[in-house]
């Protein structure tokens, strides 16, 4: 490749978009399997299932915040 090894500084919007794209890819990969399990969640579900869902959402939120923090630190 002619350009050499210089990389453009990634824009935050593109990094965030990559993360969102990753979430979409992950969802597309597992949706056929977890679709049936998500139905009870949509209709309220039991306490344990709601807890599991909350943990999942929290983990995504924590990863998102951590990613944002790392990005801010590195700039």
């Amino acid at each position: 490749m002619a350009q050499g090894d210089s990389f453009a500084t990634p824009a935050f919007a593109k990094v965030f978009l990559s993360f969102a794209f990753g979430l979409a890819i992950g969802a597309a990969l597992v949706l056929p399997v977890v679709r049936d399990d998500l139905a009870p969640l949509a209709s309220g579900g039991s306490g344990a299932v709601r807890g599991v869902l909350l943990i999942g959402l929290f983990s995504i939120a924590i990863v998102s915040m951590g990613l944002f923090g790392l990005y801010r630190i590195s700039r």
Binding site: D5, S6, P10, V33, G56
Partner: protein, 289 residues
């Protein structure tokens, strides 16, 4: 060994024939095309490229477990179970990488594709973790902490090991600190996972290498040494041997990184990725089943 497609079903195959599903063949062909496209661009390989693939390796490992617990359409199952899950998990970032290379041909500076691929992998991995929790249930959440604790501990240990390597191998620090460290990290995770496996599952979980280390220790010091029994001794020696292999490979290849950084980064990244993938997969199967 005969290789035949299993279109007609397993009953039609002769004994000893290896079954390869059409979906897996298509996936392999597409992956080969993507690899060829990336190779044709001869892109620079920064040291962090290997790290960018870590979340994709985790994604592949979790995908195989989720697929084993869930119900994919039969014809697609080989793509989502081992080893197809790992190929799928590598195919997706490969396509993204190839697309970015193609779109950036005329630009002066390349997009930081390793950062985009890594970030995308983190997103996919987050969803896969959530799916794993939903699929397996909340009963094994505590045990699943092992999957986080072991890589984090291995990462800390790798940092210390990498620092100590710097005392006697300046090339390692100058040219291959991240990829070399990644190779050591992969060897360490693999060693811990193997040791954990045979601690929990017994002799059946031994690999050829762990059996060899145990055999040597039991032959040399069957009663242990200075208060340390033979079992502890060979488990620790096994871990040290794993790390030693990683360190040896990293320090031997590091000097060549000055003149051939792409080749060295690719090799060390591959060594680290294989070690990490094997280790994480063993841990995941042990914890989740």
């Amino acid at each position: 060994m005969a290789i035949q497609l299993s279109i007609a079903g397993a009953d039609a195959l002769p004994a000893g024939a290896l079954q390869i599903s059409p979906a897996l063949v298509v996936l392999l062909l597409l992956t080969a095309i993507v690899v060829a496209v990336i190779y044709a661009y001869q892109p620079p390989l920064p040291q962090t490229m290997a790290v960018a693939f870590v979340p994709w390796i985790v994604t592949g490992a979790i995908l195989s477990v989720v697929a084993a617990h869930g119900q994919y359409p039969t014809y697609l199952e080989p793509v989502f179970t081992e080893p197809g899950a790992y190929i799928t998990a590598m195919f997706v970032p490969g396509v993204v990488w190839a697309a970015m290379l193609n779109l950036s041909v005329s630009r002066r500076a390349l997009p930081a594709y390793h950062q985009y691929i890594g970030t995308m992998g983190v997103g996919a991995m987050a969803i896969l973790w959530a799916a794993l929790i939903i699929e397996v249930g909340s009963s094994r959440l505590t045990m699943m902490l092992v999957l986080v604790v072991v890589p984090v501990m291995a990462l800390l240990a790798t940092g210390l090991i990498a620092l100590s390597i710097g005392f006697w191998s300046p090339d390692f620090v100058d040219y291959a600190a991240i990829t070399g460290g990644f190779a050591v990290f992969g060897a360490l995770v693999n060693g811990i996972a193997t040791a954990t496996n045979f601690a929990v599952l017994g002799d059946g979980a031994h690999t050829a290498f762990s059996s060899a280390v145990r055999g040597i220790v039991l032959a040399v010091a069957p009663g242990g040494v200075v208060g340390v029994d033979a079992t502890h001794l060979w488990v620790w020696l096994f871990l040290v041997a794993n790390v030693a292999i990683g360190v040896h490979v990293a320090t031997r290849l590091a000097p060549y990184a000055e003149t051939s950084p792409r080749a060295v980064n690719a090799m060390l990244g591959f060594v680290g990725a294989v070690g990490f993938a094997l280790g994480f997969d063993r841990l995941l199967v042990l914890v989740v089943g």
